[in-house]
C-alpha cells in the first residue's frame, strides 16, 4: 500500500473512532465552534470533537508542527478533507485567524509574531476579527483613512472599520492602517494587530437584511498599540493585505464547498415540497429545469476545484483559473438560495421560528444573508475586473 493510501486508512479509522455521531450531521449556525477566550460549546460532543482535532493539530492540518499545526502535506490534507467529507464531519473550529491571518503570518510574520499568535490560533484560544473596510472606502480598499501615528514607543490609532465580523465577540483584530499619508493611496499602509481589550476600542453591531447582526462597526479612539505589532514591516501593509485577500478568496471557496456539502439537497427538498408525477418527474417543470441548471453549475464547480487541486499537485497551475472561483461560487450559491426559497412556497415567507420548521427557517435566513457573498471579500464586479485584466490581458 502506498504511504498516502496508508494515511487514508489510518485517518478514516481515526475519524470513525473519534468523531462523535452528533458531529457528523450538517452544522447549524448555533452549533459552530468559534475560537475565543470565552469559547463556549453548544454540546459536550462539540467540545470533545474540537479537543481531539486540536490535539492532533488538525484544526490547521497543513501548518508546521512547531507552531502546533498538523504538519500534513498538501496531499495528506486533501485526504483528510475527503475523509471528513465522507463522514460528514463538522469543521472542528471556526476563526478568521485560522482562515486568514494565520497563513499570512506564516509568510510575512517575524518569528516572535509566529510564536506569539500561531499556536493560539491552532488551539482556538483567540478569536480574530478583520479590520479592512471603512465606511467611505468600499471596494476602493486602499483609500482607507484610519491612521496610526508613530508616538515614539507606540502607535496611536484613530478611525473606524466596518464589516468587522462579530467584532463584539473577537479578542484581537488585524487591521490595515495608514502610517504615512504622503505617497499614493497604496503606499503608507501598514498591517497591524490590536488587542480588542485595549482602551479606546469599541464596537456597534450592524443589523443585516437577514435580521442578524454578524458584523460590527469598530471604532478606534486614541488606541495605543505596541510598535512590535506591525506585521511585514512599516508601510508594507498592502503586500500583506494582498496575501491575505488570496486566502479570503480561497476561504470563500472553501466555505461554499462546506455549505454546498452541508446545505440542503435540492432534489430531496423539491421531491418533498413539490412532489412527483407517476413517471418520476417533479410536478413543476420550471423548477425542475432550474434544478438542472443549478446542479450542473454546482457540480461543475466541484470539478473545477478538483481540477485546481490536481493543477497545484502537478505544478501546472493555470493562473486564470483560481480567479474564477469566487465569482462563480457566490453566484451559484445565491441562485440556489432563490430556488430553495421558491420551492418552499409560502413557507419561505417568514423567519418567525414558530411558524415553520428550523430547516425552513435556515433556508430563508440564508437566502437573505448570502446576498453578502457577492459583495464581501471583493465584489463580483471587482472579481470580473481582475479576471479581465489578469487572466485575459485586457487593457486597464
Amino acid at each position: 500500500m502506498s504511504p498516502i493510501d496508508e494515511f487514508r486508512q489510518q485517518t478514516r479509522a481515526w475519524l470513525e473512532e473519534n468523531c462523535p455521531a452528533s458531529q457528523r450531521r450538517p452544522v447549524v449556525k448555533e452549533e459552530q465552534i468559534w475560537a475565543g477566550r470565552d469559547r463556549v460549546f453548544a454540546t459536550p460532543d462539540a467540545k470533545l470533537w474540537f479537543e481531539r482535532m486540536r490535539d492532533k493539530g488538525w484544526t490547521a492540518p497543513s501548518w508546521p508542527t512547531e507552531y502546533g499545526g498538523g504538519g500534513l502535506s498538501r496531499d495528506e490534507e486533501k485526504v483528510l478533507e475527503q475523509e471528513m467529507a465522507r463522514l460528514h464531519c463538522r469543521p472542528p473550529l471556526y476563526d478568521l485567524g485560522l482562515w486568514m491571518l494565520g497563513p499570512a503570518l506564516l509568510v510575512h510574520g517575524n518569528e516572535a509574531q509566529k510564536q506569539e499568535h500561531i499556536s493560539k490560533i491552532v488551539r482556538g484560544d483567540i478569536r480574530w476579527a478583520q479590520g479592512y473596510s471603512e465606511p467611505a472606502a468600499g471596494s476602493d480598499l486602499a483609500s482607507l483613512k484610519t491612521r496610526a501615528e508613530d508616538m515614539g514607543d507606540h502607535f496611536l490609532v484613530n478611525g473606524t472599520k466596518i464589516w468587522t465580523t462579530q467584532a463584539d465577540k473577537a479578542d484581537w483584530i488585524f487591521a490595515l492602517v495608514r502610517t504615512d499619508a504622503s505617497g499614493t493611496k497604496h503606499e503608507g499602509i501598514s498591517f497591524i494587530l490590536i488587542d480588542m481589550r485595549t482602551a479606546g476600542v469599541s464596537t456597534t453591531p450592524i443589523e443585516l437584511i437577514s435580521g442578524e447582526s454578524e458584523f460590527c462597526q469598530t471604532f478606534f479612539d486614541d488606541v495605543k498599540v505596541p510598535k512590535e505589532n506591525i506585521v511585514g514591516g512599516l508601510n508594507n501593509g498592502w503586500a500583506v493585505a494582498k496575501e491575505l485577500l488570496k486566502h479570503e478568496r480561497k476561504l470563500m471557496a472553501t466555505m461554499e464547498s462546506i455549505i454546498q456539502r452541508e446545505d440542503e439537497s435540492l432534489v430531496e427538498l423539491a421531491t418533498q415540497y413539490i412532489g412527483m408525477d407517476e413517471s418520476g418527474k417533479l410536478n413543476d417543470s420550471s423548477i425542475r429545469s432550474r434544478i438542472t441548471d443549478q446542479l450542473m453549475t454546482a457540480e461543475a464547480l466541484e470539478y473545477l476545484n478538483e481540477r485546481l487541486f490536481f493543477q497545484h499537485r502537478s505544478k501546472q497551475v493555470d493562473p486564470g483559473l483560481p480567479l474564477t472561483v469566487k465569482y462563480l461560487g457566490t453566484n451559484a450559491m445565491q441562485q440556489k438560495d432563490e430556488l430553495l426559497l421558491q420551492i418552499l412556497g409560502n413557507h419561505g415567507l417568514s423567519w418567525q421560528e414558530q411558524s415553520h420548521t428550523p430547516r425552513e427557517h435556515n433556508i430563508v435566513q440564508n437566502w437573505a444573508y448570502n446576498k453578502a457573498h457577492t459583495i464581501a471579500g471583493g465584489t463580483s464586479e471587482i472579481q470580473l475586473n481582475i479576471i479581465a485584466k489578469r487572466a485575459l490581458g485586457l487593457p486597464a
Partner: protein
Amino acid sequence: MVLNEEQRLLQSSIRDFLNQRAPVSALRELRDNPTPQGFDTSLWRELVDLGVSSIVLSEAHGGFGFGWMGLGAVMEEIGRHLAVTPIFSSVVIGAALIEAADDHHSTEILPEIVAGTRTLAFACDEGLRFNPGATATLLNQGVLQGEKSFVLNGSGATDFLVLARTATDTKGTDGLSLILIPRDATGVTVDTIHSVDGHNFARVKFDQVAVDHRQFVGAPDHAWDFVSGVLDRATLALAAEMLGGARELLERTLAYLNDREQFDVKIGSFQALQHRCAQLFCQLELAQSVVYKGLSAIDQGQQDVAKLASHAKVLAIDCYQKMSNEAVQMHGGMGITDEVDIGLFLKRSRVCNQILGDSSFHRERFATLCGY
C-alpha cells in the same frame, strides 16, 4: 395604455399622501411594533376618505370611474412606498368578488367595505402554494371544514371569503363555492404570521363551522366562473404594485450610483454598471407595457384577461426579483444592511411572488392558454 388626466392627478395625490403619511419608515415602524390588525388603521381610514376603497367598483357602488388603469396607478404608489393596507385583500379582491357575485351581499356588506368598517380577506391557498383547482376545504351538509395556509391580511380581516368545495364528486375548479365567514364565527382559528416583508398573513382553520345559505356569495358550486376573472384582474393590480416597487428601486439605485464615489469617480460612470442599469430599465418598461395592456384591456371591457394576467405576473416577478438583487448588489455593503430600505423591497418582492400564483404556475398557465 396611457394614464388620462384624472388618473394622473389621482396618482400624484396618492403619491403626495403616501410620501407624507406612509413613507417606507412607516413599514419599519409596523414591522418593529406590529399592530393586532397588521396594518395602521388610521392610515387606512385616511385612504378610505381619499376614495381608494371603491376604486374598482362601478359608479353604482361608489366608484369614481378611474378604472383599472387608475387602480394600477394607485397600486404602483403602494408598491413604491411599501405601504401596508388592506386595499388588495379587501378591495381589489374582496369587494370585487362581492360585486361580481352580484347578490344580496352587494347591498348588505359592500357599503361597509367601501366605508372601511369591514375588511375582507380571501381564503384560497391550501398547502404551500396557490392552486385553486386542488381546493380540499369542504362544505358538506352546512358544515365547513378545512385549513387555509396563506390568507393575506388575515390578521386584520373582519370576514373571510372562503373558497370551498361544495360538490364532493368534483375536482379541479368545478364544484367550488365562495362562502362568507365572519372572523368570530365558532370554529374559526386565526394564526397570524409576520412575513419577512413586514406585512402579515394568516393560517386559518375552519373546524366544524356552521354555514347557512345566505353566506354563499354568488351561485353555489359555480364560484369559479366569476372568481377566476376577479383574480385575473387582481393579479394585474398586484403586478402594478410590484413594478412600482421595482421602479422605486431603480430610481434609488441610480441616485446612489450618481452620488457614491470610488476610485475617485462616481460609481455610476462605470460602463458595466451603466449597461446593467440600462438592461434593467428595458426589462422594467417591457413588463410595464404588459401590465398597462392588461389594465386597459379590462377598462375596454375585455372579458378574458387570463393570458395577460399570467403574462404580467411572470414578467413582474422576473423584473422585481432581478431589480431587487441588482439594487442590493449595486448598493454594495450598504445594500445588505437594514439601515437602507433596499432589503425591504427585496423581501416584498419574494412575498409578492407567492401571491395568486408563482412564476411556475403562471408560465404553465400561459403555455396552456396559448395551446402548446
